[in-house]
């Protein structure tokens, strides 16, 4: 072992970084971005909105309702029972709780039976609503004499009690896995084209820039489609991820995500000179997009300014579309799905144009 030789290696490494400002920026900026995002999402997230319908002829309904009102876990609004399902569908509430007319009467008989209607596609929010209800019931019922059983009647708009975490995340994960892998493969091979000098050759040929971009897109899309089929079949038939929708529709959305990833990869490869720099786009572009896409935390629970950000990222729409199809059984007649698919398709076009525009005649 020679201290000099080891020091030479260490010094060489740090010298290289001194010129590669970009890598330095990444090392010191990316953690703050990622951790900051996570922090804001976890701390400042909006509480889920829950509707309350009080039809109780006795006093208990009002007592529990006001206890719910005071809960920090949820935000309550009083609604009419007839509006409940519509509000669940349009996403303005994640659950509504009905205290039926015999609510007090039942409690006197020893059974507390509120009706809980869950939207069903957002397990975290649903759990929060149920917890809030539990503690509201506990505080309101504690001053009542006698033993009471709490027996909420839970119904689901989508999915059902058997839906587990995998069913919920699996839907979005199918698309994300394809998106991520296709992005990495594309950006690295496009960079190879640059570093091995063949791009210079192509640029000196009569090829048009658009032809290069579209040729690449088709090549990788073929690979991506095969991968999409594999991932989808594995998720559905080996992992038995819940699916309420049309398999071909899921495949179509996956394919669209793959094409987005290909074009995003081509576009971003223009801003990297080495493969090393290309890989840096993963923490900078992919991780924040992943956090903001709503896969972990519903977009509606994000602080407002983050929601704006989420709403301009393609992954948000793609994840939402996959969930709508697989969990809710959406088809193309749903306007929400039309919007999601339309936005993703628009991003594909945008990235093709941007990739072509940035593929300069200037090489190296």
């Amino acid at each position: 072992m020679s201290g000099h030789r080891i020091a030479a290696i260490t010094r060489r490494l740090l010298q290289g970084f001194r010129r590669d400002r970009r890598t330095l920026a990444l090392l010191f900026v990316a953690p703050l971005v990622i951790l900051g995002l996570l922090g804001y999402m976890l701390r400042n997230s909006a509480t889920p909105a829950v509707g309350v319908v009080n039809e109780d002829s006795g006093p208990l309904g009002a007592v529990v309702a006001s206890a719910l009102d005071g809960s920090t876990k949820i935000t309550t609004t009083n609604i009419a029972a007839s509006d409940g399902d519509a509000k669940l569908k349009d996403g303005s509430i994640v659950a509504y709780i009905v205290f039926p007319s015999d609510f007090t009467q039942g409690a006197q008989g020893g059974v507390i039976a509120p009706q809980v209607h869950l939207e069903g596609s957002q397990p975290n929010a649903a759990a929060q609503a149920l917890q809030a209800l539990q503690s509201a019931l506990a505080t309101s019922a504690s001053n009542r004499p006698g033993a009471v059983r709490v027996q909420p009647e839970v119904t689901y708009l989508y999915g059902g009690p058997n839906l587990d975490t995998l069913d919920y995340f699996g839907a979005a994960a199918i698309g994300l896995i394809v998106f991520f892998l296709v992005f990495v493969v594309t950006i690295v091979s496009f960079l190879n084209e640059r570093s091995q000098g063949t791009l210079e050759r192509l640029m000196a040929s009569p090829l048009r820039r658009g032809e290069i971009v579209i040729g690449y897109m088709i090549g990788f899309t073929v690979l991506a489609l095969v991968q999409s089929v594999e991932v989808l079949l594995f998720a559905l038939y080996v992992l038995n991820v819940h699916n309420a929708g049309n398999v071909f529709l899921i495949f179509g959305i996956e394919a669209l995500m793959a094409i987005t990833a290909v074009n995003l990869g081509i576009f971003l490869s223009m801003f990297a000179r080495t493969e090393f720099q290309a890989v840096q786009f993963i923490p900078l572009v992919i991780v924040p997009q992943f956090l903001l896409s709503g896969i972990l935390f519903p977009v509606s629970s994000e602080p407002t300014w983050l929601q704006y950000l989420s709403n301009v990222l393609p992954l948000t729409y793609a994840v939402n579309a996959l969930r709508d199809v697989m969990v809710k059984g959406a088809d193309l007649t749903w306007s929400s799905l039309q919007l999601d698919v339309g936005v993703v398709a628009a991003f594909v076009l945008l990235f093709i144009v941007a990739g072509t525009a940035t593929l300069r005649r200037r090489v190296g």
Binding site: Q196, G197, R201, A204, R361, R362
Partner: protein, 239 residues
Amino acid sequence: MSEQVAVEVDSVTKEFGVIKALNGVTLRVRRGEIYGLLGPNGAGKTTLIRSIVGLIAPNSGTVTVLGRKLPNLDVLREVGYMTQQAALYPGLSVEENVSFFAAIYGVEGGVKDALEFVDLYTRRGSVVATLSGGMRQRCSLACALVHRPRLLLLDEPTVGVDPQLRVELWEQFRRMAADGTTIIVSSHVMDEAERCQRLGLIQYGRLLAEGSPSEVRSQAGTQNLEEAFLKLAGEKKES
């Protein structure tokens, strides 16, 4: 412009930051001529060649190729360009590489001819990553001429090629030129320079001297090209 002129470079200047890679270069290359670019490392040879294929937009000046002013995509169909470093797809075979470039230029046949030209036909199935350095260079040459361009730009094409094949390749270049192909070739090898019809000596992005090998020699008043080159370059340095 006369039909006889294949390439016209008119007061082209190209700057990279503070470096003037080309500093007002003007030259004409005639049809069917082998024109040699000589100059030390960093003289601007590659930059000049890249501006002739439209890879570089000059800061000022114009480049006209086969009668068409650049930038012009169509004219590139008739231009072949061999880069200084062999630019190939390492994961493809020799034949796959050459066929790819043939397809890019929209020609069907010619792959076999090109491979025979560079004496790689028997190795056509070898993956490029497994070839020797000189073979890679030859494969790169095959890719540049598979579409039978009317103008061939070769940036140090024979680096790493063994002497015997080098002589054969030059023999072939001569024949191509006789058939009307214009060839612009950069080189550091003086005996290759002797084989060019005309030479352009470049240093610091300027054209120092131009003419046939014997004209260049007599201009410098020396016996051989090497001395002529060193003398002309040296004079310029002092002035």
